[in-house]
């Protein structure tokens, strides 16, 4: 027999629709509320569990509020806890209901059982209803004086919660000073730790309006407090230890013996199994020794092993966090880690984000002694199934090649990549070979032989194509069929137009494709020109076709360059050759992607998210502010939790996250950026990215040779193009070279033959400056870094550095005096000072020269900040002359 049809379909028990179940529960709760029958608590527990399980899966059970509160008149602590959980969840949205609970929570705050007192107090403070704050003060006051440490612990956090609901109530009740007293006198370390957390937060927030609060905040990092906490550090739980260590980072010891005392005290924290404790300790060590070069170095040696152990002992997530910090340290002081390179080898099962970090570290630590092995290892990754990692491995090999002097072995490997016949490997390798040739032209013979065998048809990626074309143009005399390969490329000028037809939703991607396409064409134009100068008869037809196609091109830059070439050819071929293909100087150093200033800033934020994101702290925080503020008017809500950042928000220019599309806002006066500005930047999105791409592309292909043009004159050119297009095949081969013509007169352009040396500004230095070492040290500690930058050293300069004394004499001849120097190859460190002429204004310089990368990190501090830029220019100019005179 069929079951009787149900009038109402009851929902399946696992997926309750809500209504009927909730009213059902309501009924059952009501029945139990008054009952005193034995075993009633067990039935209540079951019902409460059901209510909470509904609550957690998102069913609204707030209508049970009254019944729940009624049922909680019990001594059963499990029931009470569940009820507190329920109340905490609904009080905020139902302030009226919350009022119902006040009574029984206040009563529980006076219960005999300290557990109940504590729990009730926590629930009371977690209601977060502004109009109930008056009920909090009393229970909190007695909670802070409770004999049980659990209650005190809860009460301290309760004070902080109260502060966030109503700051004035908290301050008026004088709670902060009670916390201060507890912090220094309570026997329970967790109470102490909670006081410290609460006070840091409260006084930081108050400091902007109250001078007293700002004094109190300073007092937290005073010697007595710091010593009091440090001496008890082992009694704290591991999380509280982190808290104390973070506080110690802000403390400034008065002398070096104090520094050593602190370090000796904390030494065994480095052996802690908790990575957070170890990293916090390391941060203290690094901060304390910043101005003590030798000790700082020792710290690096000391922390190496613990860091490596943490990387390999924790979960993958923890090890990633530690590895990111290790990465930061390796980037700062690669030489310290050069013998540990094997630890940075990638394991096949590691996630890409770990491999990427390791590849960068391997690149950084490569030096004369380990390069061979590192490169061998990297070559293994090139065949990796993970293609992005394979690509990055090849790039890493290239980077190592560019930072070494002895590249024999590496060149062979790169050439082997070209023969691997995997298209992405070939593409990456081509780009590298091109860069390599720009730095080491002497390798052209070996490289060109291999590159010549590559069929241009197998090279599709724009970057690789551009690289191949550049080599074809540059070495056309050595590559037999260069003119013909170029010709066929010109014939296929329009081939890549297909990319344009892609109905690509993403404007950004389309744009970057077009830019890459035009970059290839620009290269092609230049390459055909170069080839023409060397092998005119063979290239003539290709040149004509290229110029015609170029002038007709839709892209402004391509069009302009083609037209410019055409005109200059008509004007004078030999001038054209000198413009398009002047004798080149090998590039000594390629620009670094991340400025050392940003790296320093990240280092200051050791043991924070900045290290993982590899971005300075202003970055991700400010983004939030802008987005939130443009979307929501409720600003204070988002400002409130920012306490840890309050002193960093205003640091420098804002930068947007990559996902937001590379747009950057220059200087924002403060972090409250109005909505309108964001919108404007949104509109600029395309433009900004294109410009960025542009500059990158032109730098990549050697901007030293490409000819810049005057933007204002382009429109004139453009209008004339139509007429002149008819002349598509210039017969120019007959022109006699006229070497006497100065190119500078042509378009008023200068072509720098060597890296430009800035002319010394109007800053005169005192030739007989004097400064004693202790004053120097003191000033160095006090003054902020005015300027921090990276300068390249000429190869001659590097050569001359075999005797550091020579540099000291050289700088002295420029009135810059050395006060201390040290280090050994490849790293030298110097401290210089200089004084303004007829003024007692000092400039202090820390200068770290790495001879293997031919780079100098310079940090300048100055009494008079306004002139630090002038001084920096002076310093740079003096340094650049080193070895040449």
């Amino acid at each position: 027999m069929a079951p009787p049809a149900q009038s109402q379909r009851s929902p399946s028990p696992s997926q309750p629709s809500g209504k009927s179940e909730v009213s059902d529960l309501k009924l059952q709760l009501r029945q139990l509320a008054g009952s005193r029958a034995p075993g009633v608590d067990d039935s209540k527990r079951e019902l409460f569990k059901k209510v909470i399980s509904y609550m957690t899966i998102g069913i609204d059970v707030s209508s049970l509020f009254g019944e729940m509160v009624m049922c909680s008149a019990t001594s059963d602590i499990v029931l009470k806890k569940m009820c507190y959980l329920y109340v905490g969840n609904y009080a905020k949205v139902n302030p009226d209901l919350a009022l119902l609970t006040i009574n029984f929570l206040q009563r529980d705050c006076r219960d005999e059982d300290p557990m109940i007192r504590g729990l009730a107090l926590r629930s009371l403070c977690s209601l977060r209803v502004a109009n109930l704050v008056e009920y909090l003060v009393g229970p909190l006051g007695s909670g802070l004086k409770d004999s049980n440490s659990y209650v005190r612990m809860v009460a301290v956090m309760g004070v902080l919660k109260l502060y966030h609901i109503s700051a004035s109530t908290c301050i008026d009740a004088d709670f902060p000073s009670i916390l201060k007293h507890l912090m220094l006198h309570d026997s329970d370390t967790q109470v102490v730790a909670n006081c410290l957390s609460a006070l840091q937060e409260i006084w930081s927030a108050e400091a902007s309006t109250s001078e007293e609060a700002s004094r109190e905040r300073e007092a937290l990092i005073s010697k007595p407090v710091i010593y009091y906490l440090l001496n008890r550090i082992k009694e704290f739980c591991e999380w509280a230890q982190c808290l104390v260590l973070e506080l110690v980072t802000k403390y400034v010891p008065s002398d070096s013996s104090e520094i050593f005392d602190i370090m000796n005290l904390l030494e065994d924290r480095l052996q802690h199994a908790n990575g957070a404790v170890v990293l916090a300790t390391i941060r203290v060590f690094l901060q304390l020794t910043l101005s003590m070069t030798d000790v700082h170095q020792q710290v690096y040696e000391r922390i190496k092993a613990p860091l490596l152990t943490l990387v390999s002992s924790g979960s993958p997530e923890q090890s990633y966090a530690v590895l990111s910090h290790l990465h930061l340290l390796v980037m700062r002081a690669p030489y310290v880690f050069s013998s540990d390179y094997k630890h940075f080898y990638c394991q096949y099962n590691e996630p890409s984000y770990v491999k990427r970090l390791k590849l960068e570290m391997l690149t950084a630590v490569a030096n004369e002694s380990n390069t061979y092995e590192i490169v061998t290892e990297l070559c293994e990754y090139a065949a990796n199934v993970d293609i992005p990692i394979a690509r990055e491995s090849i790039r890493a090999v290239g980077k190592i090649a560019l930072q070494q002097y002895d590249v024999n072995a590496i060149v062979d490997r790169l050439l082997q990549f070209l023969e691997m016949e995997k298209d992405y490997v070939t593409a990456e390798a081509l780009v590298l070979v091109k860069d390599l040739l720009r730095k080491y032209p002497q390798w052209s013979h070996d490289c060109i032989a291999v590159v010549g065998n590559i069929s241009s048809k197998n090279v599709q990626e724009p970057k690789a194509k551009a690289a191949l074309i550049w080599m074809l143009g540059e070495y056309s005399q050595d590559m037999q069929d260069a003119p013909y390969v170029l010709e066929s490329l010109v014939e296929n000028w329009d081939e890549e137009h297909s990319a344009e037809n892609l109905s690509c939703e993403d404007k950004k991607r389309l744009l970057s494709q077009l830019i890459q396409l035009s970059a290839v064409r620009l290269h092609l134009l230049t390459a055909v020109m170069k080839c023409f100068f060397k092998r005119p008869p063979e290239t003539q037809s290709a040149l004509g076709a290229a110029l015609a196609a170029g002038i007709a091109d839709f892209h402004q830059d391509v069009h302009d360059r083609a037209l410019f070439y055409y005109r200059i050819l008509r004007y004078n071929v030999s001038v054209a050759e000198r413009v398009v293909n002047p004798p080149k100087q090998a590039v000594s150093v390629f620009a670094d992607t991340q400025s050392s200033e940003i790296k320093d800033r990240i280092f200051d934020e050791f043991n924070s998210l900045s290290v993982l994101y590899q971005k300075k702290p202003g970055f991700f925080w400010c983004v939030t502010q802008i987005i939130k503020e443009s979307r929501l008017t409720d600003i204070h809500k988002y400002l409130q939790p920012s306490y840890m950042f309050t002193d960093k928000e205003h640091r420098g220019p804002l930068e947007f996250a990559d996902e937001l599309g590379n747009l950057s806002i220059g200087e924002a006066a403060n972090n409250v950026v109005p909505t309108q500005m964001v919108e404007e930047n949104d509109k600029d999105l395309l433009l900004t990215t294109s410009e960025k791409e542009e500059t990158k592309v032109s730098r990549n292909n050697g901007s030293a040779y490409s000819v810049p043009y005057d933007g204002s004159s382009t429109s004139v050119f453009a209008s004339q193009t139509q007429i002149e297009l008819a002349v598509s095949n210039p017969t120019l081969a007959g022109h006699s070279p006229q070497a006497s013509f100065a190119i500078d007169d042509l378009l008023g352009l200068g072509i720098p033959a060597a890296p430009a040396v800035p002319s010394p500004p109007q800053l005169k230095l005192n030739t007989k400056a004097a400064l004693d070492p202790s004053t120097f040290q003191q000033k160095w500690r006090q003054l902020p870094v005015a300027l921090s930058q990276e300068i390249s050293v000429s190869p001659q300069g590097v050569a001359a550095l075999t005797a550091p004394q020579a540099l000291l004499r050289h700088m002295q001849s420029h009135s810059i005096h050395c006060i201390a120097s040290g280090g050994q190859s490849p790293n030298f460190k110097f401290f210089f000072f200089a004084q303004k002429f007829e003024e007692s204004s000092n400039y202090l310089v820390e200068c770290v020269i790495n001879t293997s990368s031919a780079k100098t990190q310079v940090k300048i501090k100055a009494d008079d900040q306004n002139t630090s830029q002038d001084f920096s220019t002076l310093f740079e100019s003096a340094l650049s002359k080193f070895g040449t005179s």
């Binding site: 806890k81 909670n194 002992s313 993958p316 013998s339 984000y353 924070s608 998210l609 987005i627 840890m644």
Partner: protein
């Protein structure tokens, strides 16, 4: 299958962050190739997550905090929950969510860590765990191997809650000490060891009442730190018998008073599971397996792979869940396998999607060698050298009752006055592959 319990402790992070998190993790890169890093930032909210036995534990904040602190905390929360529930699984979390909320409330208050010590938490927690049946569960972590297959170990112990009583109401007095070593070895194509490392942990789980003091004695000739010499120099010390650790760290309950003298660790073990000591070693050791791989072209569009693996440990020891994997040339369309005649418990597979050869061996007895032959068919001519297109061979395994470092717990002493007091002590060793790779 994922489950998250989110508590918005400070109300800093807007509702809906759970959805944002899942979307981001699931679709980290369009191609699905890369997994999301443990920490990322969406609209100013920082999301941290750790994966423990397939479950995601997530934390969010707007503050520029120490990432290690948060990740360590999440890991610790997972461990505390496991201590309480006995087993960590989606099922056990669902059944005990009220208890889990209770735990979280005590661990974190208003975004500040209060305590993660199972010991301390015991006095604040009142719900009793609903223990789920451990037998049906997937193995959890390295120590889980003790509960399946081999009857050597009392299976339920490791999944016992710290608070639940045994049926019968009496707690069994016992303590577990596991020496777990994860090894990473890379062999060059000619069979030499390029890199090797042992990452070890001495893990303890105590069910002793009254928290008596414990003394763990390690090898007397144990030394720490490889003073002066490079960390990867293998020549020295090999075969001399001494165990040399590169570095190690200790749980905060460990006292090292006499460690320098007699290599003894003293501690009062807190309740729950915790690592007594983590150590790292690059001293040379005898790799447990030797892998030999030959790949040869065998006529037009054909090639043969011969994979030989030899177990280099004593025959009274058996490795289990051994898996070998090897990427094949991308034009491979078919692979036919040939195992040794008469073997059982072995399985082979060719994964067409990612062109991978897989060879599973349920058991691998010490001293034995196994061979696999695979005939490959290609869809088109290989351009380059076939060796460049295939490999490397990677291997995973677990070897119970064996450790490669020779680090030993010589004795485990429980200080308690009564002579009748004699709790069970379990000292167990296990070696696992972390990254075990042979290049070809």
């Amino acid at each position: 299958k994922r489950l998250v319990i989110v508590t918005t402790d400070r109300g800093e992070v807007a509702k809906g962050s759970a959805e944002i998190f899942f979307r981001k993790v699931k679709f980290w890169k369009e191609d699905g190739q890369e997994e999301a890093p443990p920490v990322f930032n969406v609209d100013g909210v920082n999301y941290f997550h750790v994966k423990v036995v397939g479950l995601l534990f997530v934390a969010t904040t707007r503050v520029n905090v120490s990432p290690s602190l948060v990740l360590e905390l999440l890991q610790r929360i997972a461990r505390v929950i496991k201590d309480y529930l006995g087993v960590l699984s989606e099922d056990s979390l669902r059944k005990n969510f009220v208890l889990v909320y209770e735990l979280l409330d005590e661990v974190i208050d208003f975004g500040y860590m209060q305590t993660t010590s199972t010991e301390v938490l015991k006095s604040y927690i009142f719900n009793e765990p609903i223990v789920v049946d451990a037998a049906r569960l997937q193995p959890l972590g390295p120590a889980a191997i003790f509960m399946q297959g081999t009857k050597r170990m009392p299976g339920t112990a490791i999944t016992k809650s710290v608070v639940a009583n045994e049926p019968g109401g009496r707690k069994r007095e016992e303590i577990f000490v596991d020496i777990i070593e994860k090894i990473s070895v890379t062999f060059s194509s000619s069979g030499y060891i390029l890199t090797s490392e042992i990452d070890g942990t001495i893990q303890m789980k105590s069910y002793l009442t009254g928290n008596p003091e414990i003394r763990l004695a390690l090898n007397e000739d144990l030394s720490i730190g490889r003073g002066g010499e490079s960390a990867n120099d293998y020549r020295s010390s090999y075969g001399s018998g001494a165990v040399i650790l590169d570095d190690c760290n200790f749980h905060e309950s460990v006292r090292l008073d006499s460690f320098d003298m007699d290599r003894t660790l003293a501690l009062v073990p807190p309740d729950g599971e915790f690592p007594v000591m983590n150590y790292r070693m690059t001293q040379e050791f005898k790799p447990p397996f030797h892998i030999n791989c030959l790949i040869e072209e065998a006529g037009h569009l054909k090639a043969e792979v011969i994979l030989k693996v030899r177990a280099e440990f004593p025959s009274n020891i058996t490795a289990n869940t051994v898996v070998l994997e090897m990427p094949l040339p991308k034009y491979t369309t078919r692979a036919s396998f040939e195992l040794e005649p008469g073997v059982t418990g072995q399985r082979t597979d060719f994964k067409g999607a990612n062109k991978k050869l897989e060879w599973d061996l349920e058991k691998f007895v010490g001293g034995v060698e196994h061979t696999l032959r695979a005939k490959l068919t290609f869809s088109q001519e290989l351009h380059a050298n076939i060796i460049k297109e295939a490999g490397p061979v990677s291997m995973t395994f677990t070897i119970p009752m064996y450790n490669v470092s020779r680090l030993q717990v010589k004795y485990l002493q429980i200080a308690k006055k009564s002579s009748s007091y004699n709790p069970y002590r379990w000292v167990r060793y296990v070696t696992q592959a972390n990254s075990y790779v042979a290049r070809i």
